[in-house]
């Protein structure tokens, strides 16, 4: 192996070199070098037909052996395909997002196996965690099956034994959940052992996700697995989210589920479900059926209680929280029309008013009526439904963005009450009214939670969008930092994040000029390609937990089921690596792993956007 000396990767073979030797021996017997017909006149077509071998260069580039570049050094290992090569070429192989622990070593040897013959052993402290891991195993196998290039079945499969050990008996998934894991893969001549250790089931499920990144389809039947590996990993940020807007355009459940599947593949862990907005109210509120009846686009375009409950469970099994947003006081209209006919008065105002530019920032208009007590009662019923939907530890997003003050200012019943209360009609008075709205809703939320979950020790913080109200100069007057987490959606250059952090607020970041996935298709907005998404650096606060993480936002004005997947993926995956690994390196270094990640999404049935000509995927390093 003449090239090994120049090979500079973080291989920590030391302590377990004995292990690796047996592993290597096993792999060598499994892959007795196949005599290779070196007919130079057929080389190019060999690449097309998959007959040529692939090599990994010292610069981590996988090349077909007939396209070797003179002067570049290659490892002596021969791989059967580009994907095989990708599995271990470069420190992180094709693992997405890149592991953050000190240890990450991947052997170049492979185990050839049949996914049906993988056996699992689960060591968990109680039944619910055991059951969770059994389900994880099932999902893992179904993902493996999608990697098979040809037939999965393999007559002479190696045995693969996967053991997952979890310490905690808790299924709580929130910002404090430990999602770390460690994984060791080692092989003897008969068996490959995968040993996963994690504090929680969520760490374990991430480990299985990583394990699936160590697998690819063989050009014959069955699958290839990296025969030896050692990985320790934990996310940098505890909140790694995708916002999905199902109000502007409805998204059928199976598309939400497919989004969750892709999020799981990317180790994202929060689905921020912007389920309602001014445009429509598709969610069933069992206590207030009027909301859906008056607000849904059609009876078919709705989410029932059962749908939502199942969705929460579906997500949770994939390590994902569903954080529901009930936006208010703005972005609420259709679904709120029935107040007068029910004798509750106007619970929303400016509803579907035109010309809309006078009453809101986007048609149709609608804003909740902050001086109507019935509105608060309805909202509390909605919150109660939401609290029931989610896990006991889950909180709520209360919206709070883009309140259009002229709407309230043009509504006589509101200004009358304000005057009676001794307010002038200046901006500050409206801000006060607005903040009282949030405070009152927070009280309602606390009340519901105390009743429903008396075991929860601390009241849950709630989330609001950045707005006039979160102006650093006055925010402390309006929103207590212990109870409100601010999701900022300002541009990267804006000082808001820094100033909120200085004042001690916890924040979530949805950088408008990098992580708004709807941009580039309307007005003067720009599209942010995956490299921009990847390169979006997040600020850090004085306290470690001040920046909880971030979310990419899929507002659905110009997207429905027909283009949803392509708009979100693979770009959200770039944000996933930013949030999980927070890499110092640029997208350039991640590109080959990223291309492989996109192919995995496709294999799993996600219609991810193409990011580069197929030629550039096949010819690594040639399209700089």
């Amino acid at each position: 192996m003449p090239d090994q000396t120049s090979y500079k990767h973080c291989y920590h073979w030391g302590a377990w070199s004995a292990l690796c030797l047996t592993a290597a021996a096993a792999a060598i017997t499994a892959f007795a070098p196949v005599a290779y017909a070196n007919d130079s006149s057929e080389t190019s077509s060999n690449r097309i037909s998959g007959r040529s071998k692939w090599l990994c260069s010292s610069t981590d580039i996988c090349t077909s052996e007939d396209e070797q570049v003179p002067g570049v050094q290659y490892l002596s290992h021969q791989f059967e395909s580009q994907r095989d090569c990708r599995l271990s070429c470069g420190k992180y192989g094709s693992i997405w997002p890149m592991p953050t622990g000190d240890e990450c070593s991947l052997s170049h040897e492979r185990v050839h196996f049949d996914p049906w013959k993988v056996r699992f052993n689960v060591v968990a402290p109680n039944d619910v965690t055991t059951q969770f891991l059994h389900e994880t195993n099932r999902l893992f196998v179904s993902n493996l099956l999608k990697e098979c290039t040809r037939n999965c079945t393999l007559a002479s499969s190696k045995e693969v034994l996967v053991k997952a050990t979890v310490q905690s008996n808790s299924l709580v998934l929130d910002w404090t959940t430990d999602e770390s894991y460690m994984m060791v893969v080692r092989s003897t001549d008969k068996v490959t052992f995968v040993d996963i250790k994690a504090p929680t089931v969520y760490g374990a499920r991430h480990a299985f996700e990583t394990l699936s990144n160590l697998v690819t389809g063989s050009i014959t039947n069955g699958l290839l697995l990296v025969s030896a590996a050692r990985i320790t990993d934990r996310p940098v940020f505890p909140h790694r989210g995708v916002l999905l807007d199902t109000s502007r355009n409805f998204l059928p459940l199976r598309y939400i589920r497919s989004t969750i599947d892709a999020m799981a593949a990317s180790k994202l862990n929060v689905l921020h479900w912007h389920v309602v907005d001014t445009h429509s109210f598709p969610l069933e509120i069992t206590r207030v059926p009027e909301m859906q009846r008056f607000g849904a686009y059609s009876t078919a375009q709705t989410y029932s209680r059962a749908d939502a409950v199942n969705l929460v469970k579906y997500a949770r099994l994939r390590g994902i929280r569903v954080l529901i947003e009930i936006d208010g006081p703005s972005h609420a209209g259709n679904g709120w029309q029935w107040g007068p006919s029910a004798g509750l008065g106007n619970i929303s105002v400016c509803l579907n008013q035109s010309p809309w530019r006078k009453y809101c920032v986007q048609p149709p208009c609608g804003q909740l009526n902050p001086i109507n007590d019935h509105m608060y009662a309805v909202l509390k019923e909605i919150f109660e439904d939401i609290a029931e939907l989610g896990a006991p530890e889950e909180t709520i997003h209360m919206g709070g963005d883009e309140v259009f003050l002229p709407c309230w200012n043009n509504t006589k019943e509101i200004t009358d009450v304000m005057v009676a209360r001794g307010y002038d009609l200046g901006v500050l008075s409206f801000l006060r009214l607005w903040s009282q709205f949030h405070q009152r809703n927070l009280d309602a939320w606390d009340d519901i939670n105390q009743r429903m979950f008396p075991n929860n020790k601390e009241p849950k913080p709630v989330i609001l969008w950045s707005s006039h109200l979160t102006d650093p100069k006055t925010i402390e007057e309006f929103l207590p930092k212990e109870r409100f987490i601010i999701q900022t959606w300002v541009s990267a250059a804006d000082s808001l994040n820094r100033e909120l952090l200085q004042r001690g607020y916890r924040i979530l970041i949805s950088t408008k000029d990098a992580w708004y996935l709807d941009h580039g298709f309307w007005g003067s907005t720009n599209y942010y390609n995956w490299k921009t998404v990847y390169g979006n650096a997040l600020p850090s606060g004085a306290r470690k937990d001040q920046v909880l993480g971030g979310e990419v936002c899929m507002w659905s004005e110009y997207v429905d089921q027909n283009s949803l997947e392509a708009r979100i993926w693979p770009r959200a995956g770039a944000a996933a690596e930013r949030l999980w690994s927070n890499p110092k390196s640029s997208a350039l270094l991640a590109q080959r792993r990223f291309y492989r990640y996109r192919e995995r999404l496709l294999a799993r049935g996600i219609h991810a956007d193409a990011v580069t000509p197929h030629w550039c995927v096949l010819h690594e390093g040639n399209c700089l």
Partner: protein
Amino acid sequence: MEPDDNKMSLAVCLRRFLLVLVSGAIFILTVLYWNQGVIKTQAYNDALEKPRHGHKDGAAFAIPIEKTWTYKCENDRCIRLPFNPNANGNGKGQKRISFISCSMTCGDINIWPHPTIKSLLSSHTLRFTTDDVQLNLDTPHREVHKLLQVAFDWFVKDLRQIQRLDISNSASMPASGESVIRRSQLDGENQRSSIFGYTFSLEKQAGDVDSLEIKISVQKSGDINFNMDNDESYQLKTTLEKRRLLVHITAHSYFGARHGLSTLQQIIWYDDEDHLLHTYAKSVISDAPKFRYRGLMLDTSRHFFSVESIKRTISAMGLAKLNRFHWHLTDAQSFPYISRYYPEMAEYGAYSESETYTEQDVREITEFAKIYGVQVIPEIDAPAHAGNGWDWGPKRGLGELALCINQQPWSFYCGEPPCGQLNPKNNHTYLILQRLYEELLQLTGPTTDFFHLGGDEVNLDCWAQYFNDTDLRGLWCDFMLQTMARLKLANGGQVPKYLAVWSSALTNTKCLPNSQFTVQVWSGTWQENHNLLDNGYNVIFSHVDAWYLDCGFGSWRATGDAACSPYRTWQNIYKHRPWERMRLDKKRRKQILGGEACMWTEQVDEHQLDNRLWPRTGGLAERLWSDPNDDHDFDIVPPEVFRRISIFRNRLVELGIKAEALFPKYCAQNPGECI
């Protein structure tokens, strides 16, 4: 080995049985966990994993039933109102008007593209089912008869799909996820009635007519070959006699009749209240296109596209009355076409064995396209944009067919990686081109009329590495003239009347004879556009700043800027009228054959093709067919256009084309409110 296996499977069985038992117990515990500290109104006792499908998934139909709303026509606009069947106590008083029925009877004719000569519709509509539809062909031309028969079959298949009938028998349309669900749901009648909540019988339903006869008359021309002089005009007239509805389409050629069928398809709609098809009791439409060349280009080299996806694209083109499918078959990146004479091209140049087109594929696409009135125009780009697939010359003793293949640093030798440019001094190169033309013309039909030679973005520095010629541009020009000569040989001694090349430095000189060459203009200044016309060339517009559908997705390379951001919205596409902007006189206006939208595929593959193309390409279709006047500001499109394109988009979605959303559904349900 066998007994062992048996033992094993017994053990497995036992283990599974145990597992089932254990899971049962675990579910109870899970419920306990979920409900800790509180009794919830809903029991979480269903499976952890499998979501219940009791509630129907909104995806079951692309355009779901909207029982919630009824619509009222006011001032040519449909107003959405909540529908409460029991509002009048007994529920008999009110009838729900569906959105589509309102839209089709409120205001001006709602088809896309808008008819150019005349359209009169009665407000009286009639209901019918697919079973009522009959065809009466009235043409002395055998070939026309044959084509119209097939076109009609596809028309009926689309009607069945719109009417949400089981379409599993017609497998020609791609099975999207939706249609799979649809089929399974429509299996068996009981299920059907339970799903829709109404009783629905496969027996003939009560419509307002006994029959709907579609009579298509084509007398004048029996020509079924495409050319610029095809008469694409048609007239459509609906009359009612007792309970027989007669739709009479009259045209001078197959092509006109075909467009008449597209129009007919758009004046038929499915009403989700009575679950019947509707059309007008009386109508008179007279229509003809403003431009002869209405094209869409698809690049199948940067990414491969399946035959299915190409056919799907062509069927949508037919609905929009576009008539040229410009197939940018090959480029430097890959050569997916398996040539009869030179299989090496694909062997060396395709991405994989499966990412290829056979001769049969090309023939099939051509025949399919003809049914939709669309001509297939293959392009083997040359001399630039050719590399992979041309690299086997030396191994066969033919010398270098192409130069600079995959050469680095690419930016010195080509516009985007990988590089590659044909060798202008190798006679074999020309011979291969000639034979490629020959076989492609056999597959896509002989042409007296139109062919595309490519000819863009030649990088002279690439050639300069090999040749000492002082006039490399002359070499380029000679290359084009040589390919023209080869095309003539390949085409039975005839040079097509319109020989297209992309605009380039070469088309700014007068070296290509204007009597033969047509320039597809994609970049350059307005002055250059004027010069081309002044120099006597015929022109097809494909301006990058309006009609390039690939723009707006950032740079796909590791470094460098995006080539042509931002994204072109359908409004940008719709509002582009270069012939107006250039204030052309009559003579020059005649030199404009039409326009074409270009779908370069660096950042698109099959998975997003539909939503990248549609409904935006529809914007181009109306611009070229109807060319409506436009005196609005730079990005304003009249509400009337929104109204129609929204319906058109829905029609595409109904037919299984994943067209992008134009705006929030609220805006679709409330025409005019979001503008």
